[in-house]
Symmetry: C2
Subunit: 139 residues, 2 copies
DNA sequence: ACTATTTCGCAACTTTGTTGCAAAAAAATT
DNA sequence: AATTTTTTTGCAACAAAGTTGCGAAATAGT
């Protein structure tokens, strides 16, 4: 695991630091997406809030993670698949947020539909967020 | 106009106050959606920030306006159509945010597609936000 | 016009996010 | 392996966004 993490950082021309390794590891261990607060709390060692903000931003810039728009307006982040690279995200999959456990999933196999826009409107990006009950919360 | 505004407030069992009338009027005058900041700045008279927060929340609760999830995680609000009522929103239309002028539109005639979820996932609500260039910003 | 109820505005506070800078850590060089 | 250069970190200080309690003011009901 440590190998993989280090490798990803190096591949992206990032200095391998403890905070980056730990935070990236958290993403690989987590099933769903992570919010800033999750990271701030979950880690055994405590990183400064500022470091977390900067690390997340760096990962987004490098195409390692992507942000997920949510209806409650809290930012969440999830790992990108291989196709993403610095400055060019290609995460056009649907996201799912569970109303019960609040877990956020990337539904990699549900792709975003293309919609016909009214005259004059030119679509460049479409974000789809579905909410409901997730796999784990079905009674 | 004043008649209409007052009528809407009364229909929803809300006291008719100056802030509520003015803020509701702003929504009726505006082409797109409004953010908290828009309201705070735009009005000639100045309402307290807290009053604006509370008024917006009240309107959402009553089904007069709905919130729009945005990828930059800033809350925006737009008028609901008639079908919405207290506690029950039915705004299943697509939203459009212009990359250039930042205006947010409700595309009332573009309805949200129903997507097939993976096994175990039960969709209850789907939010679609499209971004690109709007009608007014086409060169 | 008077009373009861609701809403408003202020102050104080919390949460979230940003910026500058010196110290520490990592990478590059010798 | 030691030194220099570069990058990253943590702190402090700040700014922006949102919340809560409460007395004063406005609205609604009689
Ligand atoms: Zn769940
Ligand atoms: Zn995703
Ligand atoms: Zn525009
Ligand atoms: Zn809308």
């Amino acid at each position: 695991m440590q190998e993989l993490i280090t490798d990803i950082l190096k591949r992206n021309q990032l200095s391998v630091t403890e905070s980056r390794r730990k935070i990236l590891e958290l993403f690989h261990q987590s099933k769903g997406a992570l919010a800033h607060a999750d990271i701030e709390q979950s880690s055994a060692e405590h990183f400064d809030r500022v470091t977390i903000y900067r690390t997340l931003q760096t990962f987004v810039d490098k195409g390692i993670i992507h942000t997920i728009p949510t209806s409650d307006n809290s930012v969440r982040y999830a790992l990108c698949k291989d196709e993403c690279s610095a400055g060019h995200h290609h995460d056009n999959h649907v996201h799912f947020i569970c109303d019960q456990c609040d877990t956020t999933y990337c539904l990699d196999h549900v792709s975003v539909p293309s919609l016909k826009m009214p005259n004059g409107f030119e679509a460049k990006q479409t974000d789809v967020v579905v909410s409901g009950i997730c796999k784990n919360c079905q009674s």
